[in-house]
């Protein structure tokens, strides 16, 4: 199976070989997307960050420390797992899970927070701030802050704090201060506004660890680079296990960090189809969803140009998803670009489909996916049936579902 666009000779010729991994350009643009749209006060710290990051990448000691932490502290490499019973039940493609749920703290988020926290320490910053939606990035940030002895403040929408009370408690146990955000829709986007305000006021000693591949340059590329370990490992592991590359990749997309982490090392493998799964909420037609790539249009929010959910006047719209981690009106700019050039396809899955996939995966594989990752499982089931036997789907099991017990029970009309 292949992407349609990869076979278009005109586009291939214009693009040249291996162009997909060369983004962003020097201004942080992925085609028309990305860039730097922030208040001037943040430009100096962003430049400082970009420079420190570039230097760190050239420093063998930094890379060695990062690799050692990923191995000994995070538990990498994570395995790939053949979900045989799930695959057999569908009777189509073989479905493989990249087990990011087995990482320390239970999700892919820590790959990035380790990298950024080491960078913060290297830059002499003593205070870490972060935004969080589901709480996974907040926990992953609080965890590395605890380990490196950095003070940590996590901004979280009050609505999300209610939905993810256990993660709030985890962050507090780790020594982080969790500040409730009451403005706007009281979810991830508002937490990000508040973190940016904090950073503007405390630029001298504070490092802002953004949890996804959004924000102003250099964040989208930097977070992608830290997450790309997922795809690098998985690509090698699939070759080892099956002797070939998978036919398709599937990952859920909120901001899109686990997805880009899986996709990026495969971008130039033109025969590997790429699917990003957005949160369809109650269905795209209902308007209650969090699927900017499926139903939004280009705009500027949180420092970058990307697809956004917005009204006719350019005001950002409220979002809905059963999964707090996907409940965001924007998406990383690289995804917007990959959509426009046709290298990746973006689809959506409803709350109900994700819940159904959650239960099935839990019952027949004994793996409880995060509700975010359950969106990927739900789409992989459909895709496996379409693709048929003899093909392979590699799915990013981006996190484990322990944090979602309350949401799952609530959806089933039960109380814990």
């Amino acid at each position: 199976m292949s992407t349609t666009i990869s076979k278009d000779p005109a586009i291939s010729a214009a693009r040249g070989p291996h162009a997909w991994r060369n983004m962003p350009d020097a201004r942080g643009h992925f085609g028309p997307y990305g860039g730097k749209f922030v208040a001037e006060t943040l430009m100096a710290p962003l430049d400082e960050l970009a420079q420190a990051y570039a230097e760190a990448l050239r420093d063998p000691e930094f890379i060695a420390t990062l690799d050692a932490d990923l191995a000994d502290y995070v538990g990498r490499p994570t395995p790939i797992y053949y979900a045989e019973r799930l695959s057999n039940k569908i009777g189509g493609a073989r479905i493989w899970f990249k087990r990011e749920d087995l990482n320390h703290t239970g999700a892919h988020k820590v790959n990035n927070t380790i990298g950024q926290a080491l960078l913060a320490a290297r830059m002499g910053k003593t205070r870490i701030i972060a935004e969080t939606g589901a709480g996974q990035h907040g926990v992953a940030t609080a965890t590395v802050a605890a380990r490196l002895g950095l003070s940590c403040v996590v901004y979280m929408g009050s609505e999300d704090m209610r939905r993810q009370a256990t993660n709030v408690y985890r962050m507090r146990l780790l020594g982080a201060e969790v500040r409730p955000v009451e403005s706007g829709s009281k979810t991830l986007k508002d937490a990000m506004n508040e973190a940016l305000r904090d950073w503007v006021a405390n630029v001298d000693d504070t490092f802002y660890i953004i949890g996804t591949v959004a924000g102003p340059a250099p964040y989208p590329a930097m977070v992608r680079d830290f997450q790309a370990v997922i795809g690098r490992e998985a690509r090698r592991q699939m070759l080892e296990r099956t002797g070939r590359l998978p036919d398709a990749l599937v990952a859920c997309v909120g901001g899109g960090s686990n997805a880009i982490g899986l996709f990026y090392p495969f971008l130039d493998d033109e025969d590997v189809a790429i699917y990003g799964v957005e949160a369809g909420g109650d269905g795209i037609a209902s308007g209650r969803h969090a699927a900017p790539l499926s139903a939004g249009r280009s705009g500027v929010l949180h420092g970058n140009r990307t697809y956004l959910m917005q009204d006719d006047n350019g005001q950002i719209q409220g979002t809905h998803s059963i999964s707090a981690g996907l409940d965001y009106p924007g998406v990383g700019p690289e995804h917007s670009w990959l959509k426009d050039i046709g290298r990746a396809r973006y689809v959506d899955v409803t709350d109900a489909e994700a819940l159904d996939a959650f239960h099935e995966c839990t019952r027949i594989e004994g793996i409880m996916p995060a509700l975010e990752s359950a969106h990927a499982v739900a789409y992989a089931r459909k895709l496996a049936a379409e693709m048929g036997p003899g093909t392979d789907i590699l799915l990013n099991m981006s996190g484990r579902g322990d944090k979602d017990m309350a949401s799952v029970a609530e959806a089933a009309g039960e109380t814990l």
């Binding site: 208040a39 006060t41 430009m43 706007g184 929010l301 420092g303 006719d312 350019g314 005001q315």
Partner: protein, 278 residues
């Protein structure tokens, strides 16, 4: 010559510092905003900054955020803001009006369409908070062509090389953010202000306005000693929050606040002209 350039030239000849109040358009209503604008001119405003409400005002503190939410609660759009300026122009063709806001509502209207409509409505400048020097080359020239001055921000964290880059794309005046933080926070360090503004003077002949943290007549006078314009926002907007839909009372309170600042600035300007040290 643009209305802004003309106004600043006039003030310079008279040895006076501009006083520029900020209001969020549509807070609490379009009618009230137009009435407040006229009242502020009577109370001594030399130009008016009109905030375009946005759902995600990342660089603003709680006071302006709340004002945005009040304005958005009844659906104030960028089109509505332009209509308010048009109404203001029915009775005032001299006072410059600068829109201040975030890029997305402008981008959504279309940059060229915005420039054209803003100019037609009588808008003189646009300060796009999240337009950096990196993105300005794609944005600022379109505004200039439409006859709208791109007013640009410079911050305490801005280095000299960046100051020069920012000034390349700026017109009307430079808005100097007096401290690291969001609008309405903490207070001014006026002692350091003169030193911080010096490199901007080196880079441009544009007037320099100072905003963020001007709360009292004393603040205003201190800023007037070093800047060409004093910008006051949260101190006014917090009164709208307090008196709300009682437009008569709010108008009176806004006028009193601005008049006191005007008087303090005028005294400072006179002292400066008499050669006393301030």
């Amino acid at each position: 010559m643009s209305r802004l350039a003309h106004r600043f030239a006039e003030l310079k000849r008279a040895g006076r510092t501009a006083l520029i109040p900020f209001l969020t358009a549509g807070d609490p209503s379009a009618d009230a905003t137009v009435e407040f604008m006229h009242a502020l001119v009577v109370a001594g405003a030399d130009a008016i900054e009109l905030g375009v409400p946005f759902t995600d005002p990342m660089a603003d503190g709680p006071v302006i955020q709340a004002a945005c939410e009040r304005a958005l609660a009844h659906g104030t759009s960028l089109r509505d803001v332009l209509a308010m300026v048009e109404r203001f122009r029915e009775r005032d063709s001299d006072t410059p009006v600068v829109l201040m806001g975030y890029f997305n509502p402008i981008d959504s209207m279309g940059l060229e369409a915005f420039g054209r409509r803003a100019h037609e409505a009588g808008v003189d400048g646009a300060l796009i908070v999240d337009m950096t020097a990196e993105e300005a080359p794609d944005i600022a020239p379109v505004l200039v062509k439409a006859g709208v001055d791109p007013v640009c921000l410079i911050a305490p964290t801005t280095g000299e090389a960046r100051i020069a880059r920012i000034c390349e794309n700026a017109a009307g005046f430079i808005y100097y953010v007096s401290f690291k933080g969001v609008t309405g926070a903490s207070s001014l360090d006026t002692d350091r202000l003169a030193a911080q503004i010096a490199p901007i003077r080196q880079a441009t002949d544009l007037p320099v306005g100072v905003g963020f943290g001007v709360r009292t007549p004393e603040n205003a006078a201190a800023v007037a000693a070093v800047a060409d314009a004093v910008i006051v926002g949260s101190a006014l907007v917090s009164q709208i929050a307090e008196y709300g839909n009682d437009t008569a009372t709010t108008t009176k309170k806004l006028s009193e606040t601005l008049s006191a600042m005007r008087a303090a600035i005028d005294s400072a300007d006179e002292r400066e002209q008499e050669g006393e040290s301030v």
